[in-house]
Amino acid sequence: MKDQTRRIPASRQREKPGQKTKWIGTDMKRVEDPRLLTGQGRYADDVSVPGMLHAATLSSPHAHARIISIDVSKARALPGVVAVMTGEAVARLTGPLPCFSNPPVEQRCVAIDRVRHVGEPVAIIAAESRYIAEDAARLIEVEYEPLPAMNDPRKAMHAIGEGVLHPARGDTNVAMHRNFSFGDVAGDFARATRVVKRSLRWARSGAQPLETCGAVSEYDSATGKFTIHVNSSMYNYVGWLLAVTLGVPVHKLNIIPTIAGGSFGSKLFIHKVPVISAVLARETGRPVKYLEDRSDNILACDHHGSDRFYDCELALDHNDKMISMRCKVIDDYGAYFQFDIGHHGNALSQITGPYQIGSVEADITAVMTNKCQQGAYRGFGSEVSNYVMERMVDAACSEFGLDPVEFRRKNFIKPEQFPYFIPTGNLYDSGNYPAVLDKALQMLDYDGWRNKQKEARKEGRYIGIGLATCQERSVFSATEFWMLNHEAGFALTSSPEGVKVKIDPTGNAVITLQAPFWGNSPETMATMILAEHLTMDPANISVTYADTDSGIAGTGPGGSRFTVMVAGAIVSASQVIRKKLFLLAAHLLDADPSEMELFDGKVRVKGRQGAEKSIADLAMMAHFFRLSFPDTPEFDTGLDASCTYDHPLTTMPSEDRKDLGIFYPIMGHMCHMPVVEIDVETGKVKFLDYVAVHDCGTIVNPMTLAGHVRGGTAQGIGSAIYEEYKYADDGQLLNANFADYILPSVNEVPPNVRVGHVVTPSPFTEYGIKGGGEGGRMGAPPAIASAIEDALKPFGVKADFLPLTPAKLRGLIRQATANQ
């Protein structure tokens, strides 16, 4: 970029890429699997405590209403009911739920005076069974005074008075409006020779993991301490905020994690569910389980995905180089605002895609409406930005008759330009975009498919070849949660990951992570990295998850960060352990620690035959034979390390936010190329082929990475073709069940998503690893839109909104045919 004076902090990479490795880079079978395959995974609903009650909520049937009165007497009288609490009763024992916006938008786990979306809890019940709790909910009599329901953010943003959701924040539903401009946008547009404009729409979908959110809480009145079992992540990062909500000192709350049956972001930080179960536990003096049912999860999980309207312009110069982009975006945030516009911070990390675009403007309006609030869903808002960028590229190509492959290639950031600052101030650490594109073209047999496409069209068949080349930012840092605010509020800058590694006296290792399995492979990954580093047998390593009492600093998965961050922490910890092993062995073998090396589970003296000690022997010595070693502190008993790894590369944003700093620099890349055939009479889209080439730097486990790519692609197919939370004008959610909210089944996905990799290691992370957990869903939607548009070129149909359901697609074709 122009400003070469911007400082790039020195790399803290210790383990260089390209080493000869024994475990890293192999398809090691997952260590998590045997217990999951035998039905012995311990998920939230598997937690059972003696005397445990079951909770249910009474959900609001209204999108927006005042609560006039609540009569719980009949519910309370029902045999088997132990407690019924209204919002007011709950508010006497709890404060607002944690919110990361500034000023915060007050959300309660149970609504007090006003309900703001269908499904919002109005009362909560603890009973001997979930059945009875639900019976009780139906016996609660609530009088509501309906208020105008805000369904469309474009209208809601102009509402005043009764239509305003949070009057305490002012007489408007605009939660935030900010204009961010980076570089000389006006100048670039003035010198542009061609400009393409599009209005684009990304509809609301959501993660919908097969397991919902759940918690089992206990309250010990003797110690005044809560214990909460919950399938949340990030509890060792921000879990302490739940103690604040529960009105107890932070050390009076212990959060015990359970593994999660899928999250995709939506269990990033569960707040409502644990607080509901905890407050009922306190009220009843008994353990209480609250597990969302599917309806609760769809209506009120606090984690719907992005819901945006874009107006975009892309400027090209006379050489067909993209020089600037500007977009106005209205984002429908729903009823609350827990993560502020962090989703747009996320998007700004890669808003210009893999291209050399010198300036960019984003005008962001976040609007509150009577829907479930947005949270996290695989991509966290940057998947939308990918869709928008690629749509604009395709729009330019189709409008100006440019070849989509060559146009992209021409505009790519070149391999030699890394590290590369984009206009927003974020840095792309490394990349090789032409290599990824070339590999995809070759794997797909692009020219072959173009020929088949021509032949098919002669037979009246409509085949389309899609192309999307987009970014896969990884390893989020903390600044994105506040840097877009007018005032920073809580301007945190840490997003660390900690691990504890303990070698037991027999030489086996236990790794303690700070966030649980949620469908990723943290145990396998941590095992592989530690085995690599200490030359251990993976069978001698086990992995566990810390509760908050024992946990150290750790953020958890999210923003495709966990592998990179855990690897960093394990490298630190195993360095400590290695140092101690060398020290012990050197003493026992009468050598200098600097002469030692690890080999095959043993420490040996370099070049001295037979002078070796196994890790097991050394561990026994370290634990039980203190007097065999000198009386200096470095020989003190034990063989363990707790280490925290901070984000490998972040800098502060500038005061004026003209430079957001380096906040999401570990930049992956992907090229997705689907081939679809469309039945133009029914609008049905069928996949004939699908190639996905990713560059996630050094790969720890190709098998599990491919699993993420394919799984993410399936979710991307959902967002592109099938999935949408459909809210009616009155704010009712019309498809709050799995029969009507259409998750792709095996029939809706390609039979073979062919995954390829290009490896461009990061210069900043251990071994050069980049994150890759979200990629599929960040690439599939624009690729599919592109394929559909390509297939329907004879009709001139534009894929400017998602999801392109068969009905919608057929509608576009019908319209186009009528116009022809």
């Binding site: 059945y131 019976d135 009479e681 099938y722 089944s745 009905a807 057929r810």
Partner: protein, 292 residues
């Protein structure tokens, strides 16, 4: 998402089931395979106060051919019917259509009897049975009556079966040799209820179509056999233009409404496409069978 409380009675005979229903009156529901009723109960959309479980009346799980009629006991599961040789030989259209019905696990427990008594307008089997000229045997306290499929389905979720009656058998006349038939549907996902489905049977004698049966789901509020379309085809030669006109006629006679999965315009498009496809497929099949 739990069912409301109810009393449970496991019937040990048809008579017991009917007597129990009669004693209880409104609010009692028969439970066969439960694949329609239980989801509705879990969602709170059905709240019977008495559930009479007829699922163990295994005497009613038969599928057999007798005197040119496929007789299906009301408690035969979809998979039993789908996999029975009797079905394949007597009513192959039934088997073909079954490939669009739900998924294996649902078909393991779901019964045809329960399915048609539920009478979901998006369900495939009410249409198929109507086109196959099926008749239903209904048993009540006063004895048995037989109702033709055309009269059996009164409206969406409403059939001829009275609250204290029980469907006991479905009778389908064997399809004629050389007959052409086809069933097609468009659904969100394979196995989901159809947005629009179309079915057709016909024979061709001396170059003319005869015994034409044609109908649709999703073309209006309920499953419909379209006699105007049948009349247009009956006695005519099966040329493509006529089939296209027949499909247009189906469109004109459809009156779908918007719902969350499809607007009316889309359904009309599907009516046209599905109609044309099943008509053409049925004609092709007769040709293949050499009946021309």
């Amino acid at each position: 998402m739990k069912p409301w409380p109810f009393e449970y009675h496991r019937a040990n005979s048809i008579e017991d089931a009917i007597a129990t229903l009669g004693r209880h009156g409104e609010g009692a529901r028969l439970l066969a395979g439960g694949q329609s009723l239980i989801p509705m109960m879990n969602l709170g959309l059905a709240t019977p106060d008495l559930v009479v479980d007829v699922g163990n009346l295994s005497d009613l799980a038969y599928v057999l051919v007798e005197d040119g009629v496929l007789r299906i006991g009301a408690l035969a599961t979809h998979n039993t019917i789908m996999e029975a040789d009797a079905s394949a030989s007597a009513c192959p259209m039934l088997v073909v259509a079954y490939h669009s019905v739900a998924h294996h696990t649902i078909r393991n427990r779901g019964t045809l009897g329960g399915n048609i008594c539920h009478a979901d307008p998006a369900s495939e089997m009410p249409l198929v049975l109507t086109l196959l000229d099926a008749s239903m045997v209904i048993r009540g306290a006063r004895g048995e009556r037989v109702v033709a499929a055309g009269n059996f389905f009164i409206d969406a979720f409403e059939t001829e079966v009275e609250p204290a009656e029980m469907l006991t058998e479905i009778r389908i006349p064997a399809q004629a040799a050389g007959e052409g038939y086809a069933f097609e549907e468009m659904s969100q996902r394979k196995g989901d209820f159809a947005i629009v489905s179309a079915g057709c049977r016909l024979s061709i004698r001396k170059g003319q179509m005869t015994n034409v049966r044609f109908g649709l789901t999703g073309a209006g509020a309920q499953t419909r056999r379209m006699s105007v379309v049948e009349a247009k085809l009956e006695g005519a030669g099966p040329d493509d233009r006529l089939l296209a006109e027949a499909a247009e006629l189906a469109v004109v006679n459809s009156d779908p409404s918007d719902d969350i999965h499809a607007d009316a315009a889309y359904r009309l498009d599907l009516v046209r496409t599905m109609s044309r496809r099943v008509l053409a497929a049925a004609v092709r099949m007769t040709a293949k069978q050499g009946a021309l």
